[in-house]
């Protein structure tokens, strides 16, 4: 058993201190915002450390949760995320499965077609014009379709499908199964892990997607949550006054507390789900990076 030298002990100590500082650095900003949002705005306006709320108040949250545009944004984002994730995960899987089969004629060609989209793309303008030409502006589809299927996720799923033993397929085929049956009855049930991984990546992407709204949605009632959030962050006073809430007359809430409450509420879904699914993300990132 080799003992650490003094120099190594020093290194470990510094490393641990550094990591602890890093953790604080990553957590503190969000903690600050949560505490501020729970504070009485008059007391909070003086600024400060915010380890605990200054004058506890839930008013900001009450204001935001009842807020019409905030709720509408939530609704839009929820619908887009659920539908988009299901749609994209399923069709990514079908595509990935097909090209995972070595016996597929022109497999290399199709794989290249898919991979090429990672190297080169039309860009903002042609994609925008396409969505416009398809008549999808201001529709849910404009938020669901353009980001849906990507080469990266296809590759991740493909790696997984390639790893499924051929014997399983052969056994099913001997029982008279077609490729479709094999896919739905044998492969998919076995693929829960990769479906969950890719699905979660997609869900996060959809939930966080802000730019699609900016590009394709002009009707404010159809804005996704991130766009509503940005609006609130940039000018809470205006947004709220259009709903009859005048911040100037408020005692407990202010532009700042309201903004922060919105941020907290918008982040909650991700934060709540995160600890449980972290391992899926890490695994997915690994597979994608190594194979891709």
């Amino acid at each position: 058993m080799i003992r650490d030298t003094t120099g190594e002990k020093m290194f470990h100590m510094i490393n641990h201190i550094f990591m602890t500082l890093l953790i604080v650095l990553m957590i503190y900003p969000f903690w600050y915002i949560v505490m501020y949002s729970l504070s009485n705005s008059k007391l909070a306006a003086a600024g400060g450390l915010f380890l605990v709320p200054k004058g506890f108040s839930l008013e900001s949250y009450k204001t935001m949760i009842g807020n019409v545009s905030f709720l509408s944004g939530f609704k839009v984002s929820a619908i887009v995320t659920v539908c988009g994730t299901m749609f994209a995960t399923f069709f990514t899987a079908t595509t990935a499965y097909a090209i995972s089969k070595k016996r597929l004629r022109a497999r290399k060609f199709f794989t290249f077609l898919i991979l090429f989209t990672m190297l080169f793309h039309g860009g903002m303008i042609p994609t925008y014009l396409l969505v416009k030409q398809l008549g999808l502006l201001d529709s849910y589809l404009a938020l669901i379709l353009p980001p849906a299927i990507g080469a990266w996720n296809i590759l991740v799923m493909r790696s997984f499908f390639v790893g499924i033993p051929e014997e399983l397929e052969e056994a099913a085929k001997m029982d008279g199964a077609s490729d479709l049956t094999v896919f739905f009855r044998v492969v998919l049930p076995l693929s829960k892990a990769v479906l969950a991984t890719v699905g979660l990546f997609l869900a996060v992407a959809y939930w966080n997607d802000f730019f699609s709204t900016i590009l394709y949605i002009t009707d404010k009632n159809k804005w996704a949550l991130q766009a509503v959030l940005r609006d609130i962050i940039n000018n809470a006073a205006t947004t709220l006054s259009s709903q009859g809430i005048s911040l100037g007359f408020q005692q407990e809430i202010s532009e700042s507390t309201v903004k922060m409450a919105s941020i907290v509420v918008a982040t909650l879904p991700i934060l709540m789900v995160y600890p449980f699914i972290q391992k899926y993300f890490v695994k997915g990132a690994l597979i994608g990076s190594v194979k891709g």
Partner: protein, 316 residues
Amino acid sequence: MTNGWKSKSKNGSVAGPGLVKDVIRDRYLYLLLLPGLVYLIIFRYVPMYGLVIAFKDYNILMGVMKSPWVGLLQFERLFRGPDFLQILKNTIIISTYKIIWGFPAPIILSLLLNELKNIYFKRFTQTIIYLPHFISWVIFAGIIMIFLNPVDGFVNYVIRTFGGEPVSFLTEPKYFRAILVITDIYKEAGWGTIIYLAAISGVNPSLYEAAVMDGANKFRQMWHITLPSIRPVVIILFILSLGNILEAGFMQIFLLYNPLVMNVGDVIDTYVYRRGIVDASYSLGAAAGLFKSVIALIIIVLANRIVKRFGEDGLW
């Protein structure tokens, strides 16, 4: 194609006898492939074709096909524009800073993480540092703006406590690029450690033991064993970073920039958005986008070739 193919195509090529038979045999596979393929054609390849409007004067009423050709006129307009040089400069400078500071960050972080002996502390740290990657830029930009607020932001609170004058960070050109780089690292460095840690953990432990017996200290071990072992990963990721040099983080900049920092913060994508979408100069925007994509492709191909010439594995 060529002669001498096996009678059953095992390698997924198109040519070779038995094509129709194989297609019929695999018809359900093609069925499964179809929706994704159609999607990619519509949403990825059609826009690629749509880039031709960079060579046209796109008129909405006439559509892509009928709009008149103008050759390189849009590109001339683009390159001769008063801001273009500045925009190109900003894009490259910001990206370069991000590469210089941001590329080593996850590597160093993963080397340090690897040294943590307590597995619970290590896992906890990792959980925390992955988190910013999942926060949307809207939220993160909001947090940044709150913290850097000249009136009641935390950073200025600290400055004032130490007797300094509050600074409006986000509207000062001299701070803007630094803010972009630092916050980008904050958001992504943690997540970036995943792949490096995976590579590091693949290193044969007996190499370390041998080095220790030769009297190597921690830093020598890292320098001579760990780093060279992860070199392939580093190279590939580096090539990809280079290929993205004209990207410069559009979403981040779009959410953080303001008229006061345009001269240092405006990049190609923000320009494309403003002129191409907002001003509806579609052809001009498409030309800028095409310029960006072509350069990115060239860089990646070149970088890949150079790396291979040095004997390393490239991207392909």
